[in-house]
């Protein structure tokens, strides 16, 4: 099927992303044992965000979620669970991995809260390991497993285990499985790694509900790295009842004109080696 090419003879980033997606979809449909991943993307529910991501957050790879400051960890965890909720499907579990330090320092996922956020709690398997190295090992093993729709692993702010090699290995492992891996770090780190996307998450004041109380979780998402698409920033709310993210109606936005259209990155015409 001929496709229009960009004038310079180079496919644009967007085209490359959509081509990759098509290939991935064909592969998923043809390769044995991959039928369940026919849906290669998890739609976030926000058209602009899905467009920047080339259809949604890709399965079979690893994404990184960072709180903008240490205090934003709650929002970052909320975003991670939101994505996991979006990815949930029948007979697939979600693995949450913490180690002793992170759980003692910042608490554990709390089942009643998860349920009220729309997460199917019967799918959750919680793994508690002694060290950060074990988190990495367990995440690697779990990503290969075909029983998970998402594997969320928490890492402390300062850790040496998440280097380029290790994360690359995680991405390769995730290609064998069906779900995606979410690395939830306790603080923004600058080391390069192989995660497909990197999100900086910060809390935003919620809209007050009609009764005057605190409204749905509201957060600011900053997609700072996206290997197969453009970056962007969005203010989103997590709507527990509908189990989806939604952007605020502009009038209701408390923080003025922070909702920006996705910014297309320049100077990266050639996408890097395929990780389909």
């Amino acid at each position: 099927m001929p496709r229009p090419m960009a004038a310079e003879g180079q496919p644009s980033l967007k085209q490359a992303a959509s081509l990759k997606q098509t290939i991935a979809a064909i592969e998923a449909a043809c390769l044995p044992g991959k039928t369940r991943s026919a849906r290669v993307h998890v739609e976030t529910g926000i058209p602009a965000m899905d467009e920047a991501l080339g259809g949604g957050l890709s399965r079979g790879t690893v994404h990184e979620i960072l709180p903008r400051t240490v205090q934003d960890l709650g929002a970052a965890a909320g975003f991670a669970f939101g994505l996991a909720t979006r990815a949930q499907e029948k007979n697939a579990h979600v693995l949450y991995i913490q180690h002793d330090f992170t759980s003692a320092e910042t608490g554990r996922p709390y089942l009643p809260g998860l349920k009220l956020s729309g997460f199917d709690t019967s799918a959750l398997i919680y793994l508690h390991v002694p060290r950060a190295e074990d988190v990495l090992w367990a995440m690697n093993e779990a990503l290969k497993c075909r029983g998970f729709s998402a594997v969320i692993a928490e890492f402390p702010a300062h850790t040496r285990v998440l280097d380029l090699t290790c994360t690359r290995r995680l991405v390769l492992a995730a290609q064998e499985g069906l779900g995606f891996g979410l690395i939830l770090r306790h603080a923004a780190a600058i080391e390069p790694n192989a995660a497909t996307t990197r999100w900086l998450v910060s809390s935003k004041p919620s809209r007050t509900n009609p009764l005057g109380g605190i409204g749905s979780p509201h957060m600011h998402l900053d997609l700072v790295k996206n290997r197969f698409g453009s970056s962007g920033q969005w203010n989103v709310e997590w709507h527990a009842h509908d189990r989806k993210f939604e952007t605020l109606p502009p009038a209701a936005s408390l923080s003025g004109n922070l909702v920006q259209p996705p910014v297309h990155r320049q100077g990266r015409a050639q996408p890097r080696a395929a990780v389909a």
């Binding site: 939101g82 029948k90 910042t106 199917d120 605190i214 749905s216």
Partner: protein, 472 residues
């Protein structure tokens, strides 16, 4: 008594003063009963290479049921000689005997001359032995000695009723046990596993990879036998017998009946990799045994033609490996518990029930909050609530500002209080304070779950504030 002591003329139970009088240079050690008992257990473990049915007869004996095992070692006598030789190599002097009943074997090993007696000579062989060989209490032996009964032969033909009347029924019971008129059970030290496979190695194995290879072969043997009976293993144990007598046991458990040799191999590979210290093969392991310590009914696995590998099999396999590596208590499935105390509202259980009911449906029961309102319970709960400095209105107003981990927060919105009192049956001291929970949002939009402990005025004059959880 070792050979050296016998040569010097020392005897068992000889007073120390007499022994010192004979040999003033004699080195004396205080008896260490606990260490002796431990040694006996270790010997028992090691002897389980001959038969799985090993019982201890403290303080100094081990009883083996070798029914059906002897031919594997070239007959009863060859087996006995092999055991004695190997024990000798380990620096242990052993007296051994084989007989048709445990009682007779016990008596012969200690008081007899013959080492292996056929059943029809049992009575005649026991006849000259002292009565103490029947494992009678010293009081009974003394009482019988006073009336001139010293040997087993003395009571063999006596009428039973008067003997029982005078010395107690246990005397006749012991006699019956020894002669095989009644069955004396051997209490095995360890339960006898339903399936055992083992390999004797002419060349002791020292390399982990080689040992794993053998385990995998043994798992193949067991898998065939389990399949015949439609069972799968829930718990397995590898027993490694080191040449010098040390015994290593490594156990793994599975979350569902498992008999796939490849999966079992993976489990043991994980188990080996978690050993805190090295396996320490020393001069090598010469017997490797794989036993299934718990088995359950298991159907024939059906593989899905379309999907290839089955996702839930894959998952159960992973859960097992995680359990072996990190300990089964670290892999949990969380569940709701009936309690309104936040920290008790969640329980943990082992993820093992892969029944349809336990599987996620993909459609959670809609308990989610209305979209306009945020959830009333936090996404993360601290293992223990962290104390904070908060400024709030008395008696029960929400916090206005607070300081947590040295960072000040200005509260913009607060919802509450949600008053939660300790459940009386958990409150052992009767002094637990009532908590007033608030959902607060600071000016930056961070949402916290705070509580004030103690009702102002009635319970305390200075309530302490805590942060208990974080909202998304």
């Amino acid at each position: 008594m070792n050979a050296e002591a016998v040569r010097l003329g020392l005897r068992h139970m000889m007073p120390l003063a007499d022994a010192r009088a004979m040999y003033p240079a004699l080195a004396v050690e205080t008896a260490d009963d606990i260490a002796d008992a431990r040694l006996l257990e270790a010997i028992g473990d090691w002897l389980s290479r001959y038969t799985p049915l090993v019982g201890l007869t403290p303080p100094d004996g081990v009883m083996l049921d070798i029914t059906g095992c002897a031919h594997l070692f070239g007959g009863e006598d060859a087996m006995r000689r092999d055991a004695v030789r190997r024990l000798h190599d380990q620096g242990l002097a052993a007296r051994t005997a084989i007989a048709g009943t445990p009682g007779a074997a016990w008596a012969l090993a200690r008081y007899g001359e013959r080492r292996n007696i056929p059943d029809d000579e049992l009575k005649e062989t026991l006849r000259p032995l002292p009565l103490v060989a029947l494992q009678l209490s010293p009081d009974t032996v003394d009482a019988m000695a006073r009336v001139g009964l010293a040997r087993i032969g003395d009571i063999l033909e006596k009428p039973r009723a008067p003997l029982a009347a005078r010395f107690g029924a246990s005397l006749l019971q012991r006699l019956d046990f020894a002669l095989g008129r009644a069955d004396e059970p051997i209490t095995p030290r360890l339960p006898v596993p339903p399936y055992i496979a083992e390999r004797n190695l002419s060349e002791p194995a020292t390399h982990e990879a080689f040992i794993l290879e053998i385990i995998s072969h043994l798992a193949g043997d067991l898998a065939r036998r389990m399949e015949e009976r439609g069972e799968g293993a829930r718990a397995l144990q590898v027993t490694l017998f080191r040449v010098d007598g040390a015994v290593r046991r490594l156990s793994v458990a599975t979350s569902r009946p498992q008999r796939d040799p490849a999966a079992l191999h993976r489990l043991f590979r994980e188990r080996f990799s978690t050993l805190a210290e090295e396996l320490d093969p020393g001069c090598g392991f010469d017997v490797i045994r794989l036993s299934v310590t718990a088995a359950e009914k298991a159907g024939i696995p059906q593989s899905n033609l379309v999907d290839g590998a089955n996702g839930s099999d894959d998952l159960a396999d992973l859960i097992d490996r995680l359990g072996v590596r990190f300990g089964p208590r670290r892999v949990r499935q969380l569940a709701f518990a009936e309690s309104h105390i936040p920290e008790y509202a969640v329980t943990e259980r082992a993820p093992g029930s892969w029944h349809e009911a336990a599987r996620p449906s993909g459609n959670p029961q809609q308990q989610a909050a209305q979209d306009a309102c945020g959830p009333t319970r936090p996404l993360r709960l601290f293992e223990r609530p962290e104390p904070i400095d908060a400024i709030a209105e008395v008696p029960d107003g929400p916090p206005v500002r607070f300081r947590w981990r040295r960072v000040p927060y200005e509260v913009a919105h607060a919802e509450g209080p949600e008053r939660i009192a300790m459940e009386w049956w958990r409150d052992e001291t009767g002094r637990s304070l009532t908590r007033d929970y608030f959902r607060v949002e600071d000016r930056e939009g961070r949402r916290f779950w705070l509580y004030r402990e103690g009702l102002f005025g009635s319970e305390t004059s200075r309530p302490q504030w805590y942060v208990h959880g974080l909202f998304a």
